[in-house]
Structure formats: C-alpha cells, structure tokens
C-alpha cells in the first residue's frame, strides 16, 4: 500500500500519470491545485475503484470551491498528517 500525493492541476499530464500509478488499497491525497480533481467525476474513471481518494479541505476551499461540491472526502491538515503517519510508502 502507498500514499500518492498529487499537487498539480488536472491539466498537468503528470497528475493523471500519478493517478494511474495507484494500485488497489492505495490512498491518493489531492493537495494544492490537485484538489481540482475533486469536482470532476472523471477521477473515478482514472483510478482503480479500490483506491481511496482524499482532498485537502484548506486547499479546496481556498480556491473558492464549496465543500459540498467535492465528490471525494475532504481532510483537514490534521487528517492529512494522520494519513502520512500511517503510510510507510509515499509517492509524491
């Protein structure tokens, strides 16, 4: 299992490349412009259904997006820190 951190916009080719690295039981954390994926259902077509997706709430709302627009769970900084602590393998 790995935690994959995506910080670039969906427009950036490397973001989709990183999403496609996710294997079942991996977790993906969207931060910075990566949170824009959270308003696009396309992300669920790109990643395996057994991959858990999260976005950083502070980065999401800072871009003028409403929490109820997110299609994936939002984590605050504390939740993100806990996620990092629980994962040995990090891809970012």
């Amino acid at each position: 299992m790995a935690l994959i951190i995506i910080k670039k916009s969906p427009k950036d080719k490397i973001s989709e490349f990183l999403l496609k690295l996710a294997l079942p039981d991996d977790k993906v954390m969207l931060i910075q412009d990566g949170v824009i994926f959270a308003i696009d259902n396309k992300i669920k077509d790109i990643v395996n259904k057994d991959v858990r997706l999260f976005a950083l709430k502070e980065d999401f709302t800072a871009r003028g997006l409403n929490e109820n627009e997110s299609m994936i769970p939002l984590l605050d900084y504390e939740g993100w820190a806990e996620l990092i602590e629980t994962e040995d393998k990090i891809i970012s």
Binding site: I14, L21, K89, I91
Partner: protein
C-alpha cells in the same frame, strides 16, 4: 537498504530538474540509500546523445556521467515514451546505461521503492 526513486518529467532543456534529480540521487549514497532515476514524458529526451542543454546556456547533462559510472546508478525510461519522442536505440547515449520498462509495468515498478519523489 532503503530504495528511493527520483522520477523526473520535465524537459532536460529549459529547466534544471534532471540535473537536480541526479544530484539528489548521488547524495543518497552518503546515507546508505539506494537511489534510482526514472525519466518520464519530456524528460525522456535527456537520454539522446544529441540532447545538449548547454547549447542554450543550461547545465550540461554530461556533468553527471562520471558519477553515473562511479556509482552505477540505475536509470530507467518508459518504452512508450521513448517511442513517442522518436528515440532510436542508436540515439541513446551509452553513459546512461539505460534500462527500459513497459508502461504497463510502471505502477508495480514504482511500488517497489520505499519512497518516490517526482521532479
């Protein structure tokens, strides 16, 4: 020994990320960490003999060659990228001692490392 992969996707010309990734990789030997390097997308152009960032005033890639040889650092590229950028076998600079992986195997390849850092 822990294994770290430095994955670079930016072009070798106009940015210093390939040199930075390699510099970071070489630094790992002092920490008893085994580094490897993966070229993705535009970064794949770096493996061409004809790729010369110094022609427009950027750092030459060739300054890394003596360390690649000294440490035997593994450098990888993706077969589909190599094809996309029209890089033939004879174009690849032998200093890279390049290893090619299939795109379909990249997720498993990447998960084999303890840490993966994208540049």
């Amino acid at each position: 020994m822990k294994k770290v992969l430095f994955a670079v996707y930016n072009s070798p010309v106009g940015s210093i990320w390939i040199n930075e990734a390699l510099r970071s990789a070489f630094g790992m030997y002092g920490e008893e960490i085994k580094p490897s390097v993966l070229f993705i997308n535009d970064a794949s152009l770096a493996v061409k003999k004809q790729c010369k960032p110094e022609l427009i005033g950027c750092l030459p890639l060739s300054i890394t060659f003596k360390y690649l040889e000294k440490y035997g650092t593994d450098v990888y590229a993706i077969k589909e990228d190599i094809k996309k950028y029209k890089i033939n076998d004879e174009d690849v600079d032998p200093h890279w001692n390049l290893k090619i992986i299939d795109e379909i195997n990249v997720p498993d390849f990447v998960h084999d490392f303890d840490k993966v850092i994208f540049f």
